[in-house]
């Protein structure tokens, strides 16, 4: 079974899977079982593999689907649930969908994380602990008051600076507490290097 957070996507997937012919599938959407268009007729592994391969084709080959997938969506809400219909071996050739005990089996694939957050390639000079972000921004030629102004969608009437909203920086003018990874004392050896950032 396939579940997509996107209703349209699910419908298209359902329709496409129906075109597979003798293969039969069940579609579940957001916890609701849609009318079955079939069950697993073949051995589970093979069926799942075929399903996944077919999903890959859908993802990259179908223009309509591409269009849907390109829409801006909150990735956190997108998930794909595969629930294979678990039939008894002796029913493999002639499954009886009505008796298939599938309902208490759910395989949930959460949205995949992004490797861009690993940051293993990132280095910063030790100088960053000697002043605040605010000071560094100003020293290279940015007026920090502009950047500090509240972001457009976060304040109704920001005081002071006019001419459009700022970036709502969370640093403070003199401090170091709001900088991510800021530390109170400098490390004296390698093992003391702060790991966060």
């Amino acid at each position: 079974m396939i579940l997509g957070a996107d209703r349209e996507l699910t419908k298209i997937q359902a329709a496409k899977l129906g075109e597979l012919g003798p293969q039969t599938w069940l579609i579940e959407e957001m916890g609701e079982l849609l009318p079955p268009i079939g069950g697993f007729a073949a051995e589970t592994t093979a069926s799942l593999q075929k399903l996944l391969e077919y999903l890959d084709q859908l993802n990259f080959g179908d223009d309509a689907l591409k269009k849907l997938k390109n829409r801006k969506k909150d990735q956190g809400e997108t998930s794909l649930i595969l629930s294979p219909v678990l039939i008894q071996p002796n029913q493999a050739q002639h499954p009886d969908i009505a008796t298939i005990p599938w309902v208490d089996w759910t395989f949930t694939l959460p949205p995949r994380g992004v490797p861009a957050a690993l940051e293993w390639w990132h280095f910063e000079t030790s100088l960053r602990h000697e002043a605040s972000w605010h000071d560094f921004a100003e020293s290279i030629g940015y007026h920090a008051e502009v950047l500090e102004a509240p972001a457009a969608d976060k304040a109704l009437s920001p005081p002071g600076f006019v001419g459009g909203a700022g970036l709502a920086r969370r640093f403070n003018r003199h401090g170091d507490a709001t900088m991510a990874g800021a530390i109170a004392t400098l490390p004296t050896n390698f093992s003391d290097i702060p790991e966060g950032g």
């Binding site: 589970t44 959460p110 910063e124 290279i140 457009a152 600076f161 001419g163 390698f190 966060g196």
Partner: protein, 714 residues
């Protein structure tokens, strides 16, 4: 008696757009961001209404708003709340293009006074009747509004001649017009030439290389740079461009008094008014630049000079320690307006030239050019434990306070002591829980980088290694000093005899940098000193080199992004990533440690980012709570075979190396509650019925074996 019929003029919500364009194509055609000063017939003569045009061109009242920009220009108001005007009448209004709403109020006062006194209006107003406009490109719906010419004469106040009569600022209503974009590009280049980073790309911070994709955009970076110029010019602070020898010679420009910025009106930060443009011109004529720090270029990338020097020192130390390739920069400076997310911080040190991203391939595997390995390091950082410790600390502080004051009764003291004891117990319980059942959420993940080195201090005699490194580091020091000299004085023969003043300033400046480099060399040589015991490994071998390491395997479904691979030596690893260096790869060099001595500290993974299975910043905090990838409810042992087959198929298709399952056993008759659920981790190779069955049995017996978690930290 005849019935009197009153004819009411219908009120409509007007929209103001530029004429001559396709008014239906979107916001660019709207006069968004301008203030509207409308002359209406009031009970006592003229009365002005002041409004601000939103991004669609609809006027919204700004009464009571000190700064309406965030409210009106960015927040979509309901159109019904906008100002309504009679449809059939001819209307008289001014459009004010200025970032400060007080300018519109000032104009309104002038207009009202002129009307009351019968004097001349301060500017020629628009006198127009509303016409029908299409609501949008696709819609046949009709809205009513005004069309005004696309010229600077449509707006008040008049702009400076130096910028073609356009008053330039961020979110100006005519920002999309080509003549305006040309003026903005000119302004950006002018500010860049004074070393103000008025640009939107980290590859061309001073807008001199033509690398911006939108050179005509008045971004927040331009606004911030222009505002800083105004600040410096008003304070008469600048540096005089003294030498043109090498690219870094700019670092030695002496500070002096700048041509001042004089304005008859209060300066508005980020507004390119006539006084500001005059001051920019005066600075150019006086050959001065911004005071203080500037960005310098290294390997086509831009950095603050401190970071650039640390990078050069890192490269030379790596070469001395046998690294078989050079650290390759991927990116450094970032657009100050860039959004955060996906590992990027909105207040990143990249934006201020302090951070370097070395080449990272596709984030998961390194590039062949720079095939470094990254090994995971987990350190205990449990949030529940932190909370418990904080509660304990608070309880202790309260107890001390009560004892110090001496006003508490014995009962109150006893109660507080009990609280301290309870908090202590809570800490102990959590510590025990972590010990028995570690999860990835209890740990912070960071990475250490390793590179393939041609040295082998693990096997070579310590004295030989020390001799070799003494010589190699001395050579590295010479190369480092020569590189800095070239950057300052240039590599051409145009300046064979350096300016004596510059020479003296350079020598003073170079000293501390060489001292820092020498300290790094000393740390390495000290570690390389032969151990007292012949059988002991030298500190160098232990601290800087490894025989094998375990690369990190990315997995987007893991709680912390992945787990470790099997141990691999440098030569075997090089065969996969860069075969031609494999014969010379003898050991792994700890690049993180070398970088530390050079003045570069790694941040590893973002702290807390991997406490959640989905390292997706788009997901809300709530959604980031740990999830389980697989759930089995009401397990039926006969079905495990099918479960395993399905999991194996999914694993095979999605490239997983390990999956997690949450198993919730059924409540058995006669028991008060069902056994606790258990999380199990299964490697691909070990997914079989017996494994799962055994683990389920453990649950059934109430035993939990932490080793099945496979967390990679023991």
């Amino acid at each position: 008696m005849p019935v009197q019929q009153a004819t009411l003029t219908p009120l409509v919500i007007p929209r103001i757009v530029f004429e001559g364009g396709n008014v239906t194509s979107g916001e660019h055609e709207s006069v968004s961001g301008a203030f509207l000063v409308w002359l209406g017939p009031g009970p006592h003569g003229c009365r002005c209404v002041i409004a601000m045009l939103d991004e669609r061109g609809y006027p919204f009242p700004i009464r009571g708003l000190a700064n309406p920009w965030a409210h009106i220009s960015a927040k979509k108001e309901r159109i019904a709340n906008s100002i309504k005007l009679p449809l059939d009448d001819s209307h008289t209004f001014f459009l004010v293009a200025h970032p400060d709403p007080s300018s519109a109020r000032q104009l309104a006062e002038l207009v009202e006074k002129a009307v009351a006194d019968g004097g001349q209006l301060p500017s020629t107003p628009h006198r127009l009747k509303m016409i029908a406009l299409k609501a949008s490109k696709k819609s046949s719906e009709v809205v009513y509004g005004f069309q005004i010419p696309r010229t600077n004469a449509s707006f008040w106040p008049p702009g400076p001649e130096a910028s073609g009569g356009w008053l330039l600022y961020r979110r100006m209503p005519y920002a999309e017009l080509e003549p305006v974009k040309e003026q903005v590009a000119k302004l950006r280049r002018a500010l860049g030439a004074l070393y103000y980073p008025a640009t939107d790309t980290g590859f061309d911070p001073y807008a001199q290389l033509g690398k911006s994709e939108s050179p005509g955009e008045f971004s927040i970076g331009v606004q911030a740079a222009l505002a800083q110029f105004q600040h410096d010019a008003a304070a008469c602070q600048c540096a005089r461009r003294a030498s043109q020898a090498g690219p870094w010679s700019v670092l030695f420009d002496p500070v002096e008094n700048a041509p001042s910025l004089k304005s008859s009106t209060p300066l508005v930060p980020g507004l390119a008014d006539a006084a500001t443009l005059d001051a920019i011109g005066a600075w150019h004529q006086a050959r001065v630049r911004k005071p203080g720090a500037v960005l310098v270029r290294v390997s086509q990338s831009w950095l603050r000079v401190e970071a650039a020097i640390a990078h050069l020192a890192f490269c030379e130390l790596c070469t001395a320690l046998g690294l078989l390739y050079s650290p390759t920069i991927g990116s450094t400076l970032r657009n100050v307006a860039a959004a955060g997310g996906n590992g990027r911080s909105e207040y990143s040190n990249h934006k201020v030239g302090l951070a370097i991203d070395y080449r990272s391939g596709d984030f998961v595997e390194p590039s062949a050019e720079y095939p470094v390995a990254f090994e995971a390091v987990w350190t205990l950082d449990d949030r529940q434990l932190q909370t418990a410790l904080a509660a304990l600390n608070k309880a202790r502080m309260q107890l001390q306070k009560m004892e110090k004051k001496g006003k508490s009764t014995p009962d109150e003291l006893a109660l507080q002591e009990a609280k301290v004891n309870a908090a202590t117990e809570a800490v102990k319980i959590r510590e025990a829980q972590i010990g028995e059942d570690p999860t990835k959420s209890s740990y912070d993940l960071s990475f250490h980088l390793y590179g393939h080195s041609s040295l082998d201090p693990l096997l070579a005699p310590a004295t030989e290694t020390l001799d070799f490194l003494t010589h190699a580091l001395a050579e590295a020091r010479s190369r480092f000093a020569a590189r800095l000299r070239d950057e300052v004085f240039g590599t051409t023969d145009l300046h064979p005899e350096p300016d004596p003043e510059l020479r003296a300033a350079f020598d003073d400046w170079l000293g501390p940098h060489l001292e820092h480099f020498d300290r790094a060399c000393s740390a390495i040589l000290e570690a390389a000193s032969p151990p007292e015991s012949q059988n002991a490994a030298s500190a160098l071998a232990m601290e800087f080199f490894r025989a094998d390491i375990r690369r990190f395997q990315w997995d987007g479904f893991e709680e912390d992004g992945g787990t470790t691979r099997i141990a691999v030596d440098a030569a075997s690893d090089a065969k996969r990533y860069r075969p031609e260096i494999a014969p010379r790869a003898k050991s792994w060099l700890n690049l993180s440690r070398v970088a530390y001595h050079a003045g570069l500290w790694t941040i590893g993974s973002r702290k807390g980012e991997f406490k959640f299975p989905v390292t997706n910043p788009a997901a809300s905090q709530e959604k980031r709570k740990p999830k389980v990838e697989f759930q089995i409810k009401q397990p039926n042992y006969e079905r495990y075979h099918w479960f395993v087959q399905a999991v194996r198929a999914a694993v095979g298709q999605l490239g997983w190396t390990e999956i997690h399952a949450k198993i919730s056993p059924k409540k058995v008759k006669g028991e008060k509650k069902a056994p606790a659920a258990i999380d199990v981790a299964l490697s691909v190779g070990e997914i079989d019925l017996e494994q799962i069955g055994r683990r389920i049995n453990r649950v059934g017996r109430g035993r939990r074996d932490s080793s099945v978690m496979g967390m990679g930290f023991g």
